[in-house]
Symmetry: D2
Subunit: 292 residues, 4 copies
Amino acid sequence: MTSEAEASPYTARLLVACRDRPGIVAAVSSFLHAEGANIVSSEQYSSDPTGGQFFLRMEFVADELLERRDGFERRFAETVAEPFEIEWELRHRGERRRMTILVSRYDHCLADLLSRHRRDELEAEITQVISNHPDLEAEVRLAGIPYRHVPVEKASKHEAEERILELLAETRTELVVLARYMQILSPDFLARVGCPVVNIHHSFLPAFAGADPYRRARERGVKLIGATAHYVTEELDAGPIIEQDVARVDHRQSARELERVGRDVERIVLARAVMKHLDDRVIAHGGRTIVF
Amino acid sequence: MTSEAEASPYTARLLVACRDRPGIVAAVSSFLHAEGANIVSSEQYSSDPTGGQFFLRMEFVADELLERRDGFERRFAETVAEPFEIEWELRHRGERRRMTILVSRYDHCLADLLSRHRRDELEAEITQVISNHPDLEAEVRLAGIPYRHVPVEKASKHEAEERILELLAETRTELVVLARYMQILSPDFLARVGCPVVNIHHSFLPAFAGADPYRRARERGVKLIGATAHYVTEELDAGPIIEQDVARVDHRQSARELERVGRDVERIVLARAVMKHLDDRVIAHGGRTIVF
Amino acid sequence: MTSEAEASPYTARLLVACRDRPGIVAAVSSFLHAEGANIVSSEQYSSDPTGGQFFLRMEFVADELLERRDGFERRFAETVAEPFEIEWELRHRGERRRMTILVSRYDHCLADLLSRHRRDELEAEITQVISNHPDLEAEVRLAGIPYRHVPVEKASKHEAEERILELLAETRTELVVLARYMQILSPDFLARVGCPVVNIHHSFLPAFAGADPYRRARERGVKLIGATAHYVTEELDAGPIIEQDVARVDHRQSARELERVGRDVERIVLARAVMKHLDDRVIAHGGRTIVF
Amino acid sequence: MTSEAEASPYTARLLVACRDRPGIVAAVSSFLHAEGANIVSSEQYSSDPTGGQFFLRMEFVADELLERRDGFERRFAETVAEPFEIEWELRHRGERRRMTILVSRYDHCLADLLSRHRRDELEAEITQVISNHPDLEAEVRLAGIPYRHVPVEKASKHEAEERILELLAETRTELVVLARYMQILSPDFLARVGCPVVNIHHSFLPAFAGADPYRRARERGVKLIGATAHYVTEELDAGPIIEQDVARVDHRQSARELERVGRDVERIVLARAVMKHLDDRVIAHGGRTIVF
């Protein structure tokens, strides 16, 4: 979702999380008013209006915001964040996140993300694509993006993860996207990765968690197949869900045909999840997500 | 959309419309904070952040709100509404709108609304059903709702409209729903009705405006048929659209089958539009609607 | 799906199941041609073209078909069914199945089916509604349908099932529809019921099988909720799926709101499944269904 | 839709069109049986069972079919096609159509088709991409496909169309796909092109035919935007519709955002239409299509 004011260089997004209590919105909006900012959009959610967790996302425009950023942030910290014990983040339009894509051999999700990147649909810089296979190198290089081949053998899995962590650190990656990366990441890797990891699973979770979901969906005779984009956590296929969608199938379709239909769902679901994350619209909270 | 706090008797909705300028959200939320209210949800839209029209819908809870309503409203008028030249409305949860349904012979939309009314899905009191035919009287009376038969002949159309206006006035109707009412309302009627009129049109407007949309959809070979719920204006089938949806059809389906599929779309689209209107989520503005 | 020829009194449906081998379609269509029948629609499926199971559904029109039915069926048996070892069924348009609805307290699925019955959308005679509660009697009786109250207590469950079996036998029921019937039917009941039983489950099976699916869906943070219509088998919530659909939900919606959205999915999914079953379009085979 | 038998080299598709009369299916299926063929799938449609137009699509497998193709076709012509005055076509699996894509500057539909081509989802050989702009050359060449730049100026439109016709003839093109080609093709071009032309229009036709549909959709306040794939005829945006789909939008979305959402609908709708055409599932008849 993009407001009419999207083009302004002085648009910024303020993200707030704190314990819910009266007066937060008044404090934030009074502060923005005093700073001469005009609120463009505002979304909020409270897990429970009496004592739950409160989340706020505001887009606003303010003249010369970039030039007076330090003062703006210091004043917000002093007059709002500290009194209300708020966690917050301010992101200026144009501050693109640094994103790494991990992929194996299937290229449909990767191709979709690269194509959106070329059309400037993703508010991100793709710093590299890492793969355990060499197959997709030409496609990635044509897009002007570095391709890192990090093979993964059973015996070398630990070394491969170390190498990936190095590459993420070197590129100061702020988001990892698993675009059909067919390796399970270890708990140690996840503990050290230091940024969110978004995965696409090719089923309507929690149905058909684990391997080979299309074959199991076909055997169970479901009438819709789906895909789920979620944040990766230690528990396999159980992280907070960001986005899901489904497509209708019928008894005539072979396993191979279900895969083809499924690919179209997978790539749109992953793309929507990545776009929403980059737009600061997704908040993980208690095993679920709030999507503004 | 209903928040967790939906059951509280002290939940209210504040609706605000005014020319957009900085400080409105700050003023409203500071006022609510000062009154001890806790904001449960808040949605806003500006047609243009510099000088456009601004719309705000806030749900909040506040102790003893009903008991101190008059003072609350007077203080809001003085400290917020007058300085900002705001149009506003305050509706307490449980203040149900008085609604009249107009219907002809098709009962699928009517039956759907009555069924939702019985399950308490509509935040409304259905004060009467008016029809130009006697057919649906038993169904309506079983629901405990008065049924008014107002026949419409070509020569008596004016008298019929006068009678309907009387019935609306007597029941102090605040919303008229045309649930497949097959008469065109005159400009004079619309000028005098004094409340919003919601209609369901059995096509995906603006395609197939006018009569007999399913036959024309079939002849054109469209692959989806739709329905559109809109506010009625003088210009036929051109009022602001509240809700639309479609269903997939194919070449094998006869005109009669398209009608059957269409009925399922019509009733869900009308129901969603009515529920959103009753929940104060729809604002008509410049020929379009904002739906929070 | 209904062909243009739907209105003819001499339309019939021929259903065929047998081991797949060459020549079946030729034999059936040559027979129909010899009988002066015109094929209106034809659908077929083979689980494996070399030695799998073959299924065929043909609609055809033939003059005076009802008058010469016995001879037609005898000739089909002799010249086609016996040589090819075919299981088959012939149903003339207008031969309505006798259907019993079981319901508890929720009436949204029941009301939907009654409303379709009134509009003649169901090719069935509803012979009775059986409920373990008295609540919905007036609604059913208004539709001119007998209402049987068969209370179910823990101690009397066996007696209740016996009573239901009696009522099904007395009415020569050919289809049982569980329209949110909140009792689990015993294996003994299912072994003796003697006709298909269709159930609506309020989740996208196999996700959230068992009790309380909306609460669990909300806790898991899914972005779509669903409903599944399936044939009932001994294994709870595991019978062959006939139809499924989903609706989009978000984090703002309370458990109560999910239920409201879910009701709209449940009733359309159940209605579609019942209509397809009555139209002889559903074949259960190996734990799945073929839906023509 | 693909059957389990898709991999067999001896799978073929038989397409039949003729005046409907009894015995056609019997004749065709008896012929196939006599030739030792096993019918894998069969779909048929009659515009009117008494004297309308009849269409049949059968997939079958038969040993050594390619080797005995000539005799097979001659016998079909003599024993079935001539007596029944049938128009027919036989296509062997693996006989890929020769396809040309025309494109301007937007690459989302082109990239989608190229990506499917790489994954072997299209049963076609892409012989060339023709564009009135040079922009997309690198992308096309990476896919190993020739790129022809044919600039179109107002004065040179006729020459450009002549050049395109030459290129189509040289490559023996059997299908032209307009993947957001922003030039209107002249009646003369269409009369001489000699093969079907599929176009993607960025609205839910017949709504918003003509230029600038997203802007007009936004002004009209529709709640769904769509895309339509259709065969091109002389009358602009009025050719037989092959496929349509829609996506939900709301008041918050700018014209630019509608375009982004629209692109995702356009490319999936065009891809589905092209795949169905290549799979011989689309028959244009009387301004509409039959899609098996």
